[in-house]
C-alpha cells in the first residue's frame, strides 16, 4: 500500500514545495491507515530521503544512479512507473511544478492510472480519494475521483501547508536501481542558464507586480531614443529602480501583466495570469495594473491584494483589500521607505 510522494530536487536539494506534497499526503495516509514513502531520485538522494523522514515519511525509496543524476523525464518516468506497478501505492503525489506535472502524467499513462492534476483540496469518501481542482481559470471548481488502484495527484503550490520537521522521526531508506531505458539516452541536456538567486514566482510568499503603468516613469530616457523604445526604457528602469528595491525589501518576487510583457517591458517568465503563471502568495502588490479578468485568473487567490493605481475606477480596486490611489512612481518608493523604517525599528 503506502502513499508515494515524489520529492522533487534541484541541484542536489529538495524543492521546499515538495514538503507541501508530503503535507497533503498525510491526510490520505491516515485515511487509508498506511504510511508515506518518499521517492527521491538523483543527486544526494539518500540525504534528501533522510530529510523527508523528518517530515513524516516512514519509508523512502532512493535512487542515485548515474542515469538519474540529472532529471530526465524518460528515465524518471520509467522508474516511477515500475515502482508503481510493483508496489501498488494507493496514491502517488507531487507538487504541480513543470516537472511534477509531466512526470506524474507520464507514469499515470504508463500504468493506466487516473491522475487528478493541480488540486487545491483533498478528502476521502467511502475509501476514495477526492480531489478539488479549479477549472475555467478558477471560475469553476470541480471534484474528481479515479477508479484505478492508484490515484495520481499533483497539488497546486501553496495550497497545502508544508509538513513540518520533527526530530523524533525514524525512516527506513531502501536503495533501488534505475530502470535501463533506450529512451534515457535520447535527451541530452546541453546548457543551463539559471535564474538562481531570484525569488521564484510560484513559491513566492510576496509578489510585487508591475503593469503597463510602468511606462509612465518620470525618469528621462537617453536623448537618442524615442517612441516605443523610450517607453520600454522607462518601464525597464522602473522595474529595476522602483519595483526591485520594494521587492528586495520584502523578499518578494517580481510579477507583471501581459500588457507589460507584450510591450517588451519585462520577460515572459514574470507574467501572471491566464496565459502566464497562476500564483497565490500571502501578499500581492499590483502597481499600474488595471485588473483585467485574465490577470485576475492568475492572482485572485492571493491572501491579501494591494492595488496602487492612479485611476480610482480601475477594476483591480474591487479585488484589493487595500488600495492607494496615486502614481506608482510616488507610492512605491514611499512604501519602500516606510517598510525599511518599520523593519529597522
Amino acid at each position: 500500500m503506502s502513499v508515494f510522494v515524489w520529492i522533487e530536487t534541484f541541484t542536489g536539494r529538495a524543492l521546499p514545495s515538495s514538503w507541501e506534497a508530503l503535507g497533503a499526503a498525510r491526510k490520505i495516509a491516515a485515511g487509508f491507515n498506511t504510511d508515506i514513502t518518499a521517492l527521491v531520485f538523483g543527486e544526494e538522494a539518500v540525504s534528501i530521503a533522510n530529510e523527508a523522514g523528518l517530515r513524516g515519511a516512514a519509508r523512502a525509496i532512493a535512487c542515485a544512479d548515474d542515469s538519474l543524476q540529472e532529471y530526465r523525464l524518460e528515465a524518471y518516468a520509467a522508474l516511477l512507473s515500475a515502482l508503481t506497478q510493483e508496489r501498488r501505492p494507493v496514491a502517488v503525489l507531487s507538487v504541480a511544478t513543470n516537472r511534477g506535472r509531466e512526470l506524474l502524467a507520464s507514469a499515470a499513462g504508463d500504468t493506466e492510472s487516473g491522475l487528478i492534476s493541480d488540486v487545491i483540496d483533498l478528502r476521502l469518501e467511502d475509501g476514495k480519494i477526492i480531489g478539488t481542482r479549479p477549472a475555467y481559470a478558477g471560475k469553476v471548481l470541480m471534484e474528481m475521483a479515479c477508479n484505478t488502484a492508484t490515484t495520481f495527484v499533483t497539488v497546486r503550490g501553496r495550497a497545502f501547508p508544508a509538513a513540518a520537521p520533527d526530530d523524533e522521526a525514524a525512516l527506513a531508506v531502501e536503495k533501488v536501481a534505475s530502470i535501463p531505458t533506450p529512451q534515457s539516452i535520447q535527451t541530452e541536456v546541453l546548457d543551463f542558464a539559471s535564474e538562481a538567486g531570484k525569488v521564484n514566482l510560484a513559491d513566492a510568499a510576496i509578489i510585487v507586480s508591475g503593469g503597463r503603468g510602468m511606462a509612465n516613469n518620470p525618469a528621462a530616457p537617453p536623448v537618442d531614443i524615442s517612441g516605443d523604445e523610450a517607453n520600454i526604457w522607462k518601464a525597464q528602469d522602473g522595474y529595476a529602480n522602483t519595483l526591485t528595491p520594494l521587492a528586495e525589501t520584502l523578499g518578494a518576487a517580481i510579477g507583471a501583466s501581459r500588457a507589460a510583457v507584450d510591450a517588451g517591458y519585462i520577460p515572459y517568465e514574470h507574467q501572471v495570469g491566464q496565459t502566464g503563471k497562476v500564483v497565490s502568495p500571502d501578499l500581492y502588490i499590483a502597481c499600474g495594473i488595471s485588473g483585467a479578468i485574465q490577470h485576475q485568473a492568475g492572482m485572485r487567490n492571493s491572501k491579501v491584494i494591494v492595488a496602487i493605481n492612479k485611476d480610482a475606477d480601475a477594476p483591480i480596486f474591487k479585488l484589493a483589500r487595500y488600495g492607494i490611489v496615486g502614481d506608482l512612481y510616488d507610492v512605491a518608493p514611499a512604501l519602500t521607505a516606510a517598510l525599511k523604517e518599520r523593519l529597522n525599528s
Binding site: R321, Y322, I324, R342
Partner: protein
C-alpha cells in the same frame, strides 16, 4: 515528406462568464468559443516549422463538432489539413481515452515526425494529454519549449530551449518527438482574407475509434461535481492620508496588522 501535426480545441472566450447552472452543468451562455489561446503559439510554430522544412502540416481536434471552429481557425492561419476524431460515447475528458484516440490518429497518419502542442487548455487544463500521448507513442517528450533552435529531420534530431521554474535549459533530443510550446516562442499571426475563405470551404474529415482501429481503454477518472467557487468577500479600504508618505506608512501598519509581513 516530413509531416508536422498539431492538436487544438475550442474553448470559451477568456473574458466570458463561466458558471455552474442549476443542473450542475458548466455553462458560458451563448458566448462564442475561441481557439484555445495557448494553441495560437503551437499553431503558429507548426506553420513556421512546416514552411521552413517544406513539411506537410495537419491539425487534429479530439471531440465534438464544437471544435470545428478551432480547426477552421487553424486552417485560416495556414495549417494545411485538418481532421477531427470523434467517438460517440467515449469519455474524452478522460486523458487515457483521449491519448489512446490521439495516438491512434498519429499512427494512422503513419508518417509523423513532430507533434506540437500548446501548453494547456485554458478551460479544463488537465495537463496530461501531451505527456500521455508521448508515452503511448514511445517518443521523446519536450515540454515548455520557448524556442526551437534546430531541427534536422534527416538526422532525426531536434534542439530546443525549455523553460523550468529555475531558469532555461537547452536540450537536444531524438525525433520523432512530442513538444509543447510556451507563449513567447513566436508572434501568432492573424488569419488573412484568403485563409478565411479557404477555411470556410474546408471539409473536415471525422475519424471514429473503429476507423483508427482502436479498442478504447476504460476511463480512469470521473468528474463528480462542478461547483461555483465561494464568493471572495473583500471589503476594499482605500488608504487615505495627508501625503504619500503618510499613506505608505498607514499601509505598512495595516499589512503588519494583517500579519502578511
Amino acid at each position: 515528406m516530413t509531416h508536422i501535426v498539431t492538436f487544438t480545441r475550442s474553448t470559451p472566450d477568456t473574458a466570458a462568464k463561466v458558471w455552474v447552472d442549476s443542473e450542475g452543468e458548466v455553462t458560458w451562455g451563448d458566448v462564442a468559443t475561441v481557439v484555445n489561446p495557448w494553441d495560437e503559439y503551437s499553431l503558429e510554430e507548426t506553420i513556421v516549422q512546416a514552411k521552413s522544412s517544406g513539411a506537410k502540416s495537419t491539425v487534429i481536434a479530439i471531440g465534438s463538432a464544437l471544435h470545428d471552429d478551432a480547426l477552421k481557425h487553424s486552417i485560416a492561419m495556414g495549417v494545411k489539413d485538418a481532421l477531427r476524431v470523434e467517438e460517440p460515447g467515449a469519455d474524452i475528458n478522460d486523458s487515457l481515452i483521449w491519448s489512446a484516440l490521439a495516438a491512434g490518429a498519429i499512427q494512422k497518419l503513419g508518417d509523423v515526425d513532430l507533434v506540437i502542442f500548446g501548453k494547456e487548455s485554458v478551460d479544463v487544463a488537465t495537463d496530461q494529454h501531451t505527456y500521455q500521448l508521448a508515452r503511448r507513442l514511445g517518443w521523446t517528450m519536450l515540454s515548455y519549449v520557448s524556442a526551437i533552435l534546430e531541427v534536422d529531420y534527416a538526422a532525426g534530431v531536434i534542439k530546443v530551449e525549455k523553460m523550468l521554474e529555475q531558469g532555461k535549459q537547452v536540450v537536444a533530443a531524438k525525433l520523432p518527438a512530442v513538444i509543447s510550446v510556451m507563449k513567447g516562442i513566436n508572434e501568432p499571426r492573424y488569419p488573412n482574407f484568403l485563409g478565411i475563405r479557404k477555411a470556410a470551404k474546408a471539409q473536415i474529415p471525422v475519424w471514429s475509434a473503429e476507423e483508427i482501429g482502436l479498442a478504447l481503454p476504460r476511463p480512469a477518472t470521473g468528474a463528480l461535481r462542478y461547483m461555483n467557487p465561494p464568493e471572495r468577500a473583500v471589503s476594499t479600504e482605500i488608504i487615505e492620508g495627508e501625503d504619500t508618505a503618510a499613506k505608505a506608512a498607514a499601509l505598512v501598519k495595516r499589512l503588519f496588522e494583517e500579519k502578511v509581513l
